[in-house]
Amino acid sequence: MDRRSVIKAAGIFTAAATAFLAMPRWAFAAYSQKAFKQKASIDALQNLYGSSATTVSDKITLKAPDIAENGAVVPLEVITDLKADSIAILIEKNPSPLAIKADIPSGTQGLLKTRCRMGKTTNVMAVVESGGKLYTASKEVKVTIGGCGG
């Protein structure tokens, strides 16, 4: 490499670095596309947390209806007494089970409420990450599509 091309390359590098630094600092977390696209709960957990070893805990409350008449809007609520770092909800029989992942900074309650879609009757699993370990609680929700009442 001669001198000229070195100077040229350095110039390009500097310009790129400046452009990078000048970009507005992106406030959003890196979206874990891979974990959300997994078709099995185990794989989703593995991609999200790097581990799929979970312990059932009675310190997590998962509130979900026993029967959801409209699978398009199923209210879900996760409350935990554990010191949560993050909360995730997995809907096992959905095309992609991982529905939501919330990061909980200290000072924020271990609470998450939202509304999900469910394709059919399925187990719903709430996963709480606390101190590097995964704790779960699950519940089955019966879904009657079409509103005929089953």
Partner: protein
């Protein structure tokens, strides 16, 4: 008008936040009348900040219902400026601000 509606109330040092975002949340599995698949389009990330500090952030999959509802609670006080912003799969963003009551 912002696409986000926020209600935030303080009680005993805890701020309860409820928010509703207007978004189609297309799953990419639905078909239109001619049988063509409607492309997926959904909110990926939502961030909540109180006085500039992040208090809650969440990532959605397409399995979250249309016009997503999100509720959480953090330790705060009356008068906090709460800001919620979202970013969707098309790269669009929106945000809204409210004062904690």
């Amino acid at each position: 008008m912002s696409t986000i509606r926020i209600k935030a109330k303080e009680r005993n040092g805890l701020v309860s936040v409820k928010s509703l975002m207007k978004h189609p949340m297309e799953t990419g599995l639905r078909k239109d009348k001619s049988g063509k698949k409607i492309p997926e389009h959904w909110i990926q990330d939502v961030v909540a900040e109180a006085n500039g500090n992040r208090v809650f952030s969440v990532a959605f999959n397409t399995s979250i219902s249309k016009d997503p509802y999100l509720a959480f609670a953090y330790t705060g006080k009356k008068g906090d400026v709460l800001r919620i912003s979202w970013k969707d799969s098309a790269g669009k963003t929106d945000s809204a601000e409210t004062m904690v009551k």
